[in-house]
Amino acid sequence: MEQLIIAVTLLILGYGFGTYYENRHYKSILRRERGMSKKPAVNMKQLPLEGREILSSKLAIGSTVVSVDYFKRFLAGLKMIFGGRLTSYESLLDRARREAILRMKADAKNADIFLNVRIETSSISKGQGDKSVGSIEAVAYGTAVKFKDTI
């Protein structure tokens, strides 16, 4: 009985705080993405740059580790029984990848464009049982290119 109470409390706490932090994170992601929109990222190796001279280039990397809350993990656990889309993990993956791209862009502040961008994800801290599964690392890396005179 006590275990049940603990589980329900964790669910409520997880839902409350999880939703709050997720909304906050999304707001910040959107705000920064708008700010970065002048520096596009593409995964092409080369662009026909038509005479523009490259001043410098460097490897830019951004990574982040995000965890999913107890409530969403619980929901995913239930959903696994019936199968189908695990919608509660979607926002986790989405947040992690967008954050990683943003950090990559922030890594090369005065770049004009990012070429050959790659995005990888891996899950870390996978302990025993269902307990610690649910955190994800996203890493984005690409070549940051600075033109001689900006467009």
Binding site: M1, Q3, L4, A7, V8, L10, L11, Y15, I29, L30, E33, R34, M36, S37, K38, P40, L47, P48, E50, F71, K72, F74, L75, G77, L78, K79, I81, F82, R85, T87, S88, E90, S91, L93, D94, R98, I101, I113, G129, D130, K131, I151
Partner: protein, 284 residues
């Protein structure tokens, strides 16, 4: 060639727009319904299989499970301690077995120390009587009711059924959820409650079986009901929901209804314990 200055991510479709709380509620409810249905249907199937088993098969199974003769040996040593009440209980038990459909099986009675009024039927055709019960029992009729009730457990094969139940339960919680999961805790909690209710049903069935035997032997139920009244003196409301046994007053009520149906007398002459056997026999 040009590069558009927009933020593509704002248009991404990677997060479905669903209400998670609603999803959880629907899933939890449907899982509960499904599991309980599955659980009960497998229990029902198991029980009906157990009921259909032949006596030899049952004995074989019990042996396999390990209902050993250990307790019987323990009992042999115990009898040297001469207890007239226990000896009478043994005689009474074999007389009652003769009257019942368990005829031909050998049952043992063992006294265990303790200070609550209780008796147990354990695998291996053995009935345990708590010392305090023997102490408090006033007439042969009361003792017959207790023994009859315990024989009911053997008649209904409750040990095998209980075993099956635990097996199914273990299988379910292992296969579906694993141990360390809030879902399985929720689910097992629910099953635990329904199981108690089911146990109460079993006990009630045994009461009727016992009453039937007592009526066969003495032609009335006097004393037997008196015993439940004694048990009932200590009970509160909480027991109704959390005990594995029904409340004594409910047990009496059910026996009375059954007695009414079968025209059993509710009162009659009581035979004190310890009387010589020949003067006590009034069996049909």
């Amino acid at each position: 060639m040009s590069i558009r200055q927009i933020n593509p991510e704002e248009h991404n479709k990677n997060v479905s727009d669903v209400n998670h709380v609603k999803e959880v509620i629907i899933l939890v409810v449907s899982i509960f319904a499904l599991m309980i249905m599955l659980y009960w249907s497998s229990i029902f199937a198991l029980d009906s299989i157990v009921d259909k088993l032949s006596t030899e098969r049952e004995a074989q199974l019990m042996k396999m499970i390990g209902a050993s003769s250990k307790i019987k040996k323990m009992n042999k040593a115990d009898t040297s301690k001469d207890n007239p009440k226990l000896n009478r209980a043994k005689e009474l038990l074999s007389e009652m077995v003769e009257l019942s459909d368990l005829k031909g099986r050998e049952f043992e009675v063992v006294v265990i120390p303790g200070d609550d009024i209780n008796a147990f039927a354990i695998p291996g055709d053995t009935i345990l009587l708590v010392e305090e019960l023997l102490e408090k029992v006033e007439s042969e009729n009361e003792l017959a009711m207790v023994l009859g009730h315990e024989l009911g457990h053997f008649h209904h094969r409750h040990h095998l059924k209980g075993m099956g139940r635990r097996l199914v339960m273990g299988f379910f919680s292992m296969m579906v959820f694993g141990d360390d999961n809030p879902i399985s805790k929720l689910f097992l909690g629910g099953l635990d409650y329904t199981d108690r209710k089911f146990n109460q049903q079993q006990e009630s069935d045994c009461d009727l079986y016992g009453a039937n035997l007592v009526a066969k032997k003495y032609a009335h139920l006097g004393g037997g009901l008196r015993f439940f009244e004694k048990l009932g003196e200590k009970e509160g409301m909480l027991e109704k929901y959390f005990s594995t046994h029904p409340l004594s007053k409910d047990r009496i009520k059910r026996i009375e209804t059954e007695a009414f149906k079968n025209n059993w007398e509710l009162t009659g002459e009581l035979i004190p314990l310890g009387l010589p056997k020949d003067s006590a026999s009034s069996s049909l």
